[in-house]
């Protein structure tokens, strides 16, 4: 919170006229409309693709439904900038597609490139929200509508869609926040949204002073999205009125529509998973590693050197937060827990900029050190660490702690001897989630990395930015491996909780 507050103060503290000129100028309006256009387009594209996919994988008898349900979530693990890299290296006259097939596909750039890359990355978030909505809702309402003489096509618009509204809204909010926060895709695609503009301004002549107003606009936009969603959701009342248990209907039989359904889902998988994986592997195979080994090893070491401490710090912070929220529920502990989600929702570039300003002012000795980087990662990914620990606390019930007290152990030794061992699996999941997230993080790293510090993601970004796609490929392959591990941990955690 501190850096953000500071950012506001600092912007206001500067010459008001100067800030005013910086904010209310033609360029800001263009950035704003670009950002909004991209948000809206990504929301539309993800909704239109995720809705049939969610419906097929939750309400029908689609062949291999369970496999598809899991596989369609995989793009979540592939960072946006890897998708941007894929699109950029694939197209064009000498792109990977030309090498492989002899057919040259156009190289997507700017708005269209950003749209595709961000849609692929955000598709799973929308899918998960819609699927939750579809599985939780009352199918007998559909039957009621049919019995009242509505044709199935109309039932979808008059009954199903209105019921899914909260799910779509929640998905849209999440997707919009990701788009506003995204840096990797828009910068590589050279599409001027707030975050790309912020980065350019920061690199430009005025440094933090030039970038601060843009950061404020960005945060304001993210804030508007959150408030808007809250307001819209408040008017929606969708609980069952009247008696009766919501009934789960048998899955709909697709019959001759089964194969078109499978083709559709496979197409989504091709674009979202197979394409980036193949492109990256192909690119990495074509590289003469030789002298690059050392650089790659250096990048891995740099990435590890911040992701390990960040994972430890974030988990250490998350443990008392989750514990307090669960065992001593109060307004205070709940808001402490919500703090984690604020860190997650704040656009990372704005957060990083605020942090830069604060360190310069308050502790200049720490400016551009790995310490600040670890601090930023820990707060940004705090929510990821809180979740599994919180879930683990459900298994460690308070009776066990009381049993230990009754057997002669004080509160602290009880925590060490009973609570902590029970939380161990949750702690391991928290550690690995934060560790893997930091390994592939880009925007915070770009702004806060000490001079000479080059992580995997920075290398990918730099090489792609310079159109040296071959050189970026090995780094991309390593990040892809990290992403695969990330998925593995998530699946493992699901299994454990089930």
């Amino acid at each position: 919170m501190l850096p953000l507050g500071y950012l506001v103060v600092r912007s206001l503290g500067a010459d008001a006229g100067e800030v005013g000129r910086a904010v209310f100028r033609w360029q800001s309006l263009v950035q704003l409309s670009n950002t909004l256009l991209l948000c809206a387009s990504v929301v539309v594209v993800t909704t239109v693709t995720a809705l049939p996919a969610a419906w097929l994988t939750s309400r029908t008898d689609l062949p291999m439904k369970r496999f598809f349900a899991l596989a369609l979530v995989l793009p979540l693990a592939i960072p946006g900038y890897l998708m941007a890299y894929t699109l950029l290296s694939l197209g064009g006259d000498y792109g990977a597609a030309f090498h492989l097939t002899g057919v040259s596909v156009p190289r997507l750039r700017g708005f269209w490139g950003s749209l595709v890359a961000l849609s692929v990355y955000n598709f799973p978030y929308m899918l998960l929200n819609l699927r939750a909505g579809l599985s939780g809702y009352d199918t007998s309402l559909e039957e009621v509508a049919r019995s009242l003489g509505q044709r199935p096509g109309r039932v979808f618009f008059t009954v199903v869609l209105p019921q899914l509204r909260p799910a779509i809204l929640a998905g849209a909010l999440l997707v919009s926040l990701h788009v506003v926060s995204d840096f990797g895709v828009v910068s590589l695609m050279r599409y001027e949204t707030f975050s790309y503009a912020l980065y350019q301004a920061y690199q430009g002549a005025y440094g933090t002073r030039g970038a601060a107003p843009i950061a404020l606009l960005m945060m304001a936009l993210a804030g508007v999205f959150i408030v808007a969603e809250l307001l819209m959701l408040r008017r929606v009342v969708l609980t069952r009125a009247g008696a009766g248990q919501a009934r789960v209907r048998r899955p709909l039989r697709l019959r001759r529509w089964a194969w078109p359904g499978v083709v559709f889902v496979c197409l989504l998988l091709m674009v979202g998973v197979v394409l980036p994986v193949l492109t990256i592997v192909y690119g990495a195979l074509g590289v003469e590693m030789g002298s690059q080994w050392r650089a790659l090893r250096g990048a891995v070491v740099d990435s590890l050197s911040v992701s390990i401490p960040s994972a430890v710090v974030a988990t250490a912070l998350a443990l008392p937060i989750a514990y307090m929220a669960r065992r001593y529920p109060s307004r205070w502990s709940a808001s402490l827990e919500r703090l984690g989600f604020v860190g997650y929702a704040t656009p990372p570039l704005a957060f990083a900029l605020g942090l830069l300003v604060v360190t310069l002012r308050v502790v200049p000795g720490l400016y551009q050190t790995a310490f600040v980087l670890v601090y930023a990662y820990s707060l940004h990914f705090l929510a990821e660490a809180v979740g599994p620990i919180r879930a683990g606390l459900f298994t460690a019930n308070p009776r066990l702690e009381e049993a230990s007290r009754a057997l002669g152990y004080g509160p602290f030794s009880t925590f060490a001897r009973v609570t902590l061992p029970l939380l161990r699996p949750g702690l391991i999941v928290s550690l690995s989630l934060v560790f893997l997230s930091v390994m592939k993080e880009l925007p915070l790293t770009m702004l806060l990395a000490p001079p000479g510090f080059e992580t995997l993601s920075m290398n990918i970004w730099q090489y792609t930015e310079d159109a040296m796609y071959g050189s970026a490929a090995p780094y991309a392959l390593v990040v892809l491996g990290v992403s695969a591990l990330f998925v593995g941990v998530l699946v493992f955690n699901e299994r454990r909780m089930a």
Binding site: T395, N397, R399, L400, E402, A403, S404, R405, A406, L407, G408, Y409, G410, T414, R417, V418, P421, L422
Partner: protein, 359 residues
């Protein structure tokens, strides 16, 4: 004179945000080798009483003493880990990350590890779990888990053990066996045991003394036979098994009732309510001078038979042996076998109160 192992005096506790106290002026003592059972409907404060004795809950007022040591009064509050009291939870709360042996060793402190192991093994042997030392709690049956919980609570050598609804999730057979084991352990190790249950049958069969609680207050405390046969009020009479509550016009040791003249267990005059349990009544062919009635239903229970008899406007339950020849529709009359308990004398004339000696 025996010295009580645990004494509770005027314990009172109100939860934050509640107007009335959950427990009020609860007092009792437990002696070595004795099982005291707290029984009452759910929400009557029996578990809160137990948790307050343990120190999991802070009492607002009152005193808890273990032997001569004050655990809680207006000044002192000893935290649960220093109370040297064993506690067995309703859901056992066995540590899932530890083996059976490690669970039992957990509370044994201040001795070398080998000694701990020896003590734990001995306790497990005593309680019939030898051979299961290395199992994990989730590999055990409900009864075995219950025994481990018991072993863990007594292994540190506590002379006072509190059991919170310990048998509620066991099947009837296991429940019966373990009840017996608890009693035997209490006697052998001279432990004071406080057991909480909502099951009146369990309370009657396990307790050396039993305390019936309602709305945070102990309504009656005494040996089970006494409390059962001489309930102090309507609630106790109805809570412990089935009973007939009969309005009576009392005149000394006898009274006039709808079923005829009845002998009373104490001297009282005026309008009172009596309690006569089904087994305190006998079924007879109509007798001259006693109000007659009709058998309207009968429940065959194998070892005996319960008849529903209508006399006047009321219905009475009478227990008879299974060979009793009455059928539904037969004319019958009802006679008491013993003096009736007076459970409500609020309408009686004030007399010099003669109280029965409380055990």
């Amino acid at each position: 004179m025996k010295v009580p192992q645990l004494c509770v005096h005027n314990l009172t506790k109100t939860f934050a945000g509640c107007d009335s106290p959950v427990i009020r002026d609860v007092s009792f003592c437990v002696y070595p080798g004795e099982v005291l059972t707290l029984v009452g409907p759910s929400g009557c404060g029996k578990t809160t009483t137990l948790r307050t004795i343990m120190g999991f809950e802070h009492a607002d007022a009152g005193e808890v003493k273990r032997g001569d040591e004050v655990l809680q009064d207006g000044v002192t509050f000893v935290p649960p880990e220093l109370r040297k009291i064993g506690f067995v939870f309703q859901d056992y709360a066995l540590f899932p990350h530890l083996s059976v042996l490690q669970n039992v060793m957990f509370g044994i402190r201040g001795v070398p590890k080998a000694r701990k192991r020896a003590i734990a093994t001995e306790v497990l042997w005593m309680i019939g779990l030898a051979g299961l030392e290395d199992r994990r709690p989730h590999d055990l049956s409900g009864g075995q888990q219950q025994r481990v919980a018991l072993a863990r609570a007594i292994a540190p050598g506590s002379r006072v053990v509190l059991l919170d609804e310990p048998f509620s999730s066991l099947d009837p057979d296991t429940r019966h066996t373990i009840r017996g084991e608890v009693r035997m352990l209490a006697e052998r190790a001279k432990m004071a045991v406080v057991l909480v249950t909502h099951d009146q049958e369990e309370a009657l069969s396990t307790a050396d003394r039993l305390a019936v609680m309602r709305d945070g207050v102990i309504e009656q405390l005494g040996p089970p036979e006494f409390v059962y046969n001489h309930p102090a009020n309507r609630f106790v009479a109805q809570f412990l098994g089935r009973t007939n509550l009969i309005e009576c016009d009392a005149a000394g040791r006898v009274g006039e009732t709808p079923i005829g003249k009845v002998e009373l267990e104490r001297e009282v005059r005026g309008a009172v309510t009596l309690s006569l349990r089904p087994e305190h009544l006998e079924l007879h062919k109509p007798i001259e001078g006693r109000p007659g009635g009709k058998v309207i239903a009968r429940e065959f229970k194998g070892h005996d038979m319960t008849y529903h008899v209508r006399i006047g406007s009321a219905e009475y339950l009478v227990q008879a042996d299974a060979h009793c020849g009455f059928k539904v529709g037969d004319a019958a009359t009802v006679c008491p076998r013993m003096a009736a308990a007076v459970v409500d004398d609020s309408g009686a004339e004030p007399v010099k109160h003669v109280r029965l000696p409380l055990a």
